[in-house]
C-alpha cells in the first residue's frame, strides 16, 4: 500500500505533464530508426490485440453471402443475427440468468466481504478474531480441490440451482485482505471519537468506515461482478438444465462446440449465416464487460497494486 502510494506521488508530475515537458534534458531525442522501430512494434501489438474484437463485431452484422474477409467491413450489413438471438430463446434466457447471478452474487459477496473484513480489523481487542483471520489466510495457500467441492455442493442439495453459482465463490480471501488493509488505515482517532460519543461498532462501520471506503469497495465490486459474469467452470459442473445455463455455457455449447441453436427466431424468413449468429452471441456476452471496462481499468490497476504489495 505505502509503496504504491509513494510511487504515485513520485510519478504525478511526470505523468500528468505533456510529452515535451516529460522529457528531461538528459533524455535526448531517440534517433529516427529507433523511433520508427518502436512505432512499428507498438502498432503491431495494438492490431494483434484489437483485430479479433473488430472481426467479431463486423461478422455479427454480416448478412447471408456477405464477403468481408479482406476489409473487415461486411458487404451486406444487417441486424438479423441480433434480432434472432435477442427475440427470446436460449441466448436471451442465458443473458438474464447471467445478469441475475452477477447482480445477486456481487451484492452478497460485497456485503459478506466488507463485514468480515471489518470484524477482523481489531485482532487485539476482539478475542478469537486473530484465529479467524489465519483461517481465512490459510485458504489462500491450500484449496480443497475440484471433487470435494463438488461433493459438498451435492450434499447441500445445491446441484442444478442458481445458488451453486453464487454461494461457493461468495468471499474471495484476496479481496477480503485488500479491503481489510484499507480499513486498517483509517485513522483510529476518528473511530475513538465516535465511540466516545456512544456509537456502537455497527454504527461505526456503517457511518464512518463504509463512507470512507467507497473507492476500494468499488474495486472489489468490479472484481466480483466481472468474476461472476465470466464464471464458467462452476456452471459446467453444477448446472444440468439448459434453461438454467448462464451465457458462458451457452457460448461454449453453441459457438465453440457448434451445436445448432434451436428456438432461433427468423423474422425475415432467411436465416442469418451461422457465423454471424455465433459472433452476435459473443458480442452480446462481451458488452457488459466493455461497459464496465473504463471503470475497471482505472480502479483495478490500483487494486492489483494494493493487493500485490501487502498480499
Amino acid at each position: 500500500m505505502t509503496t504504491a502510494e509513494t510511487t504515485e506521488h513520485h510519478r504525478t508530475p511526470r505523468k500528468l505533464g505533456l510529452s515535451r515537458e516529460r522529457r528531461a534534458i538528459w533524455e535526448g531525442r531517440p534517433s529516427l530508426p529507433v523511433r520508427a522501430l518502436k512505432i512499428i512494434i507498438i502498432a503491431a501489438i495494438v492490431i494483434i490485440m484489437l483485430y479479433p474484437f473488430a472481426s467479431m463485431i463486423m461478422q455479427s452484422f454480416a448478412g447471408f453471402g456477405a464477403n468481408m474477409r479482406a476489409t473487415l467491413i461486411p458487404s451486406k450489413f444487417t441486424l438479423d443475427a441480433y434480432r434472432s438471438i435477442l427475440g427470446g430463446g436460449i441466448v436471451t434466457r442465458a443473458m438474464m440468468v447471467s445478469a441475475f447471478i452477477t447482480i445477486v452474487g456481487t451484492a452478497i459477496a460485497v456485503v459478506l466481504t466488507t463485514t468480515l473484513a471489518y470484524s477482523l480489523t481489531r485482532t487485539k481487542d476482539v478475542p478469537g478474531s486473530k484465529v479467524v483471520l489465519y483461517l481465512v489466510l490459510f485458504t489462500m495457500l491450500f484449496s480443497a480441490g475440484i471433487i470435494p467441492n463438488y461433493l459438498l455442493v451435492k450434499e447441500l442439495g445445491l446441484l442444478d440451482s442458481y445458488w451453486s453459482l453464487i454461494i461457493p465463490t461468495a468471499i474471495s480471501a484476496f479481496n477480503m485482505v485488500v479491503i481489510r488493509n484499507f480499513f486498517m488505515q483509517i485513522p483510529g482517532e476518528l473511530i475513538e471519537s465516535a465511540r466516545v460519543d456512544g456509537a456502537s461498532d455497527l454504527a461505526i462501520f456503517a457511518r464512518i468506515i463504509l463512507p470512507l471506503s467507497k473507492a476500494p469497495i468499488a474495486v472489489i465490486t468490479l472484481f466480483y461482478a466481472v468474476g461472476y459474469w465470466n464464471s464458467f467452470f462452476n456452471a459446467l459442473i453444477y448446472i444440468n438444465s439448459p434453461e438454467k445455463y448462464p451465457i458462458q455455457i451457452v457460448l461454449n455449447r453453441y459457438v465453440l462446440m457448434g451445436s445448432p441453436l434451436d428456438q432461433i427466431q427468423n423474422p425475415g424468413g432467411v436465416a442469418p449465416p451461422p457465423v454471424s449468429i455465433q459472433m452476435a452471441v459473443v458480442v452480446v456476452a462481451t458488452i457488459p464487460i466493455l461497459l464496465v471496462y473504463p471503470f475497471a481499468q482505472k480502479y483495478f490497476a490500483k487494486g492489483v497494486l494494493t493487493g500485490a504489495i501487502k498480499g
Binding site: T7, E27, K38, M257
Partner: protein, 293 residues
C-alpha cells in the same frame, strides 16, 4: 473489556462461509482414501488406504497429465513470464504520455474477457475458415487450422496466455519502474550512458526484486495451468496433448465417475502446490525480498 457483540455478529456469516465452503471440503479429501460410491456417501464407502495413490502413480493417463502440466508450465515461465517485462520496458521508453495511455487501455482489455469468449474469437481468426487460413490458401500453402492442430497446441495456449495477460502483467513492473529515483537516471546520463545502457544499469536492477518475487511465486504454481482455457479446447485437439492435472481430475472424477483416483490426484496437487509456495516464499526471503508472508 469493551463489549464486542457487534464484531462477532458481523464476523459470523463470513466465518460460516469459510468453514462450510473451504474447511468442510478439506475434510472431503477423505474420498482419496476410499472406494467412494455416490450412493453410499463418504460415511458409507469402504476405506482402501493408499491404493488410490498407488493406482494414480501407475496410471499412464495420470503420468501423461503430469508431463503435460510441467511442459505447459515451463513454456509459460520461459515465454509468458518475461513478456510483460519487455512490454513495460517498451512503454516506459515512450516519451508521449498519450500514446502510452492509449496502448495501456488496449492491452489491459483482454484480461477482463472470459476464456470462453477468448477461445471463440481466436477460433474465428485462426480456425479453418478464418483470415489466417485464407491467407495461407491464397499463398498456395493450403488451408490450415491452428486451433485443431495437436502438435502446436501447447504453443497455442501459451500464446493465448500472453495475449490475455501481457498488458495486465505490466502494471506491477510499471509501479516498480516509477519508484526508481530520477536522480539515478540523471547521474547515469551525466556519465554519458545512452538509453540502452540506462535501461541495463538503472531500470533492470530497479525492477529486479519484484521480478524475482513474481518468478518465485510463479514457480510455486507450477502445477496449476489454466483449467478453463484447456478444457474448452480439449475437444478440438484431443486428450493426449492437452490433458493437465486439473483436466485429469475433472475427466476422471466428474465425467468418468472414478472418484477415488481423481480426488487423490487433486489432493497430491494441492499438497505439492502448497509445499512449493511455502518453499518459494522461503527462497524469496533468502533472495533478500520481503516474501509473501
Amino acid at each position: 473489556m469493551r463489549r464486542s457483540g457487534w464484531m462477532y455478529a458481523l464476523m459470523l456469516p463470513g466465518l460460516v462461509y469459510f468453514i462450510v465452503f473451504h474447511y468442510v471440503p478439506l475434510a472431503g479429501n477423505a474420498v482419496a482414501f476410499q472406494d467412494y460410491s455416490p450412493f453410499l456417501g463418504v460415511q458409507g464407502s469402504d476405506w482402501v488406504g493408499w491404493s488410490n495413490f498407488v493406482a494414480l502413480l501407475t496410471d499412464p493417463q495420470a503420468i501423461n497429465a503430469i508431463k503435460n502440466t510441467l511442459i505447459v508450465s515451463l513454456l509459460q515461465i520461459v515465454f509468458a513470464f518475461p513478456a510483460p517485462i519487455l512490454l513495460a520496458l517498451l512503454l516506459n521508453s515512450l516519451l508521449s504520455t498519450k500514446i502510452t495511455r492509449f496502448v495501456q487501455s488496449v492491452v489491459y482489455l483482454p484480461h477482463f474477457i472470459s476464456w470462453v469468449i477468448i477461445v471463440s474469437i481466436w477460433q474465428d481468426v485462426l480456425g479453418g475458415a478464418g483470415p489466417v487460413s485464407e491467407l495461407f490458401a491464397s499463398l498456395g500453402l493450403g488451408h490450415i487450422n491452428i486451433m485443431t492442430n495437436p502438435d502446436t497446441f501447447k504453443i497455442l495456449i501459451t500464446s493465448q496466455v500472453i495475449w490475455k495477460d501481457i498488458g495486465w502483467g505490466t502494471i506491477i513492473y510499471f509501479a516498480a519502474m516509477l519508484s526508481i529515483p530520477t536522480d539515478l537516471y540523471e547521474s547515469a546520463a551525466c556519465d554519458c550512458a545512452g538509453p540502452l545502457r540506462r535501461m541495463w544499469h538503472v531500470t533492470l536492477p530497479g525492477i529486479l526484486p519484484v521480478t524475482l518475487l513474481l518468478l518465485i511465486i510463479r514457480l510455486g504454481h507450477v502445477l496449476s495451468v489454466g483449467f478453463e482455457q484447456i478444457i474448452l479446447q480439449q475437444p478440438a485437439v484431443g486428450v493426449q496433448v492437452s490433458d493437465v492435472l486439473d483436466t485429469f481430475v475433472y475427466n476422471r472424477g466428474l465425467v468418468g465417475g472414478d472418484w477415488g483416483i481423481a480426488t487423490a490426484a487433486g489432493l497430491v496437487k494441492g499438497v505439492i502446490g502448497t509445499a512449493l509456495v511455502l518453499g518459494a516464499n522461503k527462497l524469496a526471503k533468502r533472495a533478500g525480498t520481503e516474501g509473501l508472508f
